[in-house]
Amino acid sequence: MRNKNTARLTAILLLLCLSLTASPAISAITCQVSPKQIDINLTYHGATLTVTGESAPGDDLVIRIGNKAAPAHYKYIGKAGGIFWMKKGNITFKNVPGVYILASSGKLESILDPEAMKANLLGYAAIKATAEIEEGNPGLSKNEARWKNEFIRFKEKQNLYTIHPGTVTIQPGQTNTYRVEVPWPFQAPPGTYSIEAMAIRNGKVAERARTDFTVARTGMVAKLTDLAFNKPALYGIMAVVIAIIAGFAVGMIFKKGGGAH
């Protein structure tokens, strides 16, 4: 009898464990991206990334695309002599991603708590909160908020920081499927980028799934870059010789046509 009870108890505990591991809170979200590689060829003008996956019913979604935080070096512009606006010195922002693209199923502020936004680097306010201006320039650090705003505006102007609220579409089902198409800016340099899909439940990030994709130079673009950086003398001579030949060749074409006489 005691053995029977023990077996029942074990079975109940096992079922409980199984149901917990099978619950949407742990394994429901997935993330895939297409294409896995973006080729920078001669006609490249950016691309469209399609991010798809599955998520638990009832969850909102935020997709974050970008790269690791690293120092970003710029020149800051100020007034010189009380009249002229010009570059005055160097400014370095630390702990800032080079590329930052967010897409979500709703307005960030309405689906996420402020603390969750800050903790998960979601939204420009979170970036400003974690960014640091390198020490050594007291005039700049006194006015940190202003320079951090300028940094975000500069990145937005370059299309390297973008937020697309409400663009993630969710198809309801036993398990939801989601999809979002995100424009990838041609200004983003080659490299490996990560995509993180976050399931939002009760204002908090409940689950995550990650995938990577690469942006790489191919064909003529790759060959020219290689030549410019690894054989600069040859590259320089080629640039000069082709320019001279082109100049004289067109001059001769015009001569044959009698245009210049």
């Binding site: 920078i40 060829n41 001669l42 006609t43 490249y44 003008h45 950016g46 070096h73 710029y74 020149k75 800051y76 512009i77 100020g78 010189a80 002599g81 009249i83 002229f84 606006w85 010009m86 570059k87 005055k88 010195g89 160097n90 400014i91 320079w147 300028e150 940094f151 505006r153 500069f154 102007k157 041609f186 200004q187 340099p189 673009v221 790759a222 020219l224 870059t225 410019a228 950086f229 600069p232 003398a233 590259y235 320089g236 001579i237 080629m238 640039a239 000069v240 082709i242 320019a243 001279i244 082109a246 100049g247 004289f248 067109v250 001059g251 001769m252 015009f254 001569k255 245009g259 210049a260």
Partner: protein, 309 residues
């Protein structure tokens, strides 16, 4: 419609880039200027980083000036002797100017000096050419037979320039000068050009017209000849040391500029010397006004990429 530029790390509409090349090539053929003072800001406006814009511009000027030099050589408008003296001075002055900038960058005063030099030189050259040409055009209206561009050749040579040693006759230009004069003027223009980061055509042209008293048609051909060599040096050094020449961008620009230079040469032949000068003066003054406005008006964003002026 778009082409990716591997060194500039950006994508640009190639019709726009070819169009810019055509416009600046036209000026090059018309006035004998490289057009760097105009092209670099135009390239920056379409999103090319400043350092890449300046270096690549030098590469396309090689093609435009080669095309223009060829056209002017056939017309017999290149004073090679004068060109080589100016070139020697230009190389020496350029090297000296680069050292001045290096020293100033170390003290942090370079950017201010560059901008001020730009405004003062462009403004002075533009205003002087404008009023001088306007006067000459008024006079030529009163005396339609007079060839105002050639008057200088028969002027009596007196004063400091005539007393210098190594006097030599420049047959093509029909002027006699000490060989030291074009070399010294070359040094002067070379220093300023290096400080301002431009080829110096817009400075060299007035120097040849007003100080060396060369006829306008020879000035344009000789200036293009000299600019071609200066820009060959700049293109190679920028490619080799800084990796800032975007060859694909240069190709697109030169497709436009070589044709523009030929068209400019043809139009130039149909215009009077003073009409050419006053047109160049208006363009130079326009660029000066643009730079002054940029200096005094608060930019929309107070951050800029590192590099460039």
């Amino acid at each position: 419609m778009y082409m990716y530029l591997p060194i500039a790390l950006t994508s640009a509409n190639y019709l726009v880039v070819v169009g810019l090349g055509l416009l600046v090539g036209l000026l090059s053929g018309l006035f004998g200027v490289g057009g760097g003072f105009l092209m670099t800001p135009l390239l920056m406006m379409i999103g090319i980083p400043p350092t890449i814009a300046a270096a690549t511009d030098a590469n396309q000027i090689v093609a435009a000036s080669a095309s223009g030099t060829y056209a002017h050589w056939r017309l017999g408008n290149v004073d090679y002797k004068m060109g080589i003296y100016l070139l020697i001075g230009g190389f020496v002055g350029g090297a000296f100017g680069v050292q001045i900038i290096k020293a100033l960058r170390a003290t942090g005063g370079a950017d201010f000096l560059i901008k001020i030099t730009y405004v003062v030189m462009l403004g002075a050259v533009g205003a002087f050419m404008f009023f001088e040409s306007l006067n000459a055009m008024r006079k030529s209206k009163n005396k339609p037979v007079a060839e105002t561009g050639e008057v200088a050749q028969v002027e009596k040579r007196t004063g400091f320039f005539a007393s210098l040693p190594m006097q030599t006759y420049f047959e093509k230009s029909g002027v006699t000068h000490s060989a030291l004069v074009p070399v010294a003027l070359g040094v002067f223009v070379g220093v300023l050009a290096a400080i301002m980061g431009v080829g110096g055509g817009f400075l060299m042209v007035p120097v040849m017209i007003y100080m060396l008293r060369m006829p306008m048609h020879v000035v344009v051909g000789t200036s293009l000849f000299q600019i071609m060599f200066t820009c060959i040096e700049v293109t190679f050094l920028q490619s080799y040391s800084n990796h800032t020449v975007d060859f694909l961008l240069a190709i697109l620009l030169l497709v436009g500029s070589v044709f523009g230079a030929q068209i400019g040469t043809i139009i130039g032949k149909k215009l009077h010397g003073d009409q050419l000068k006053i047109l160049l003066a208006i363009i130079v003054l326009g660029v000066t006004v643009k730079i002054v406005l940029e200096l005094v008006m608060e930019p929309s964003i107070l951050l800029a990429m590192k590099g460039g002026h």
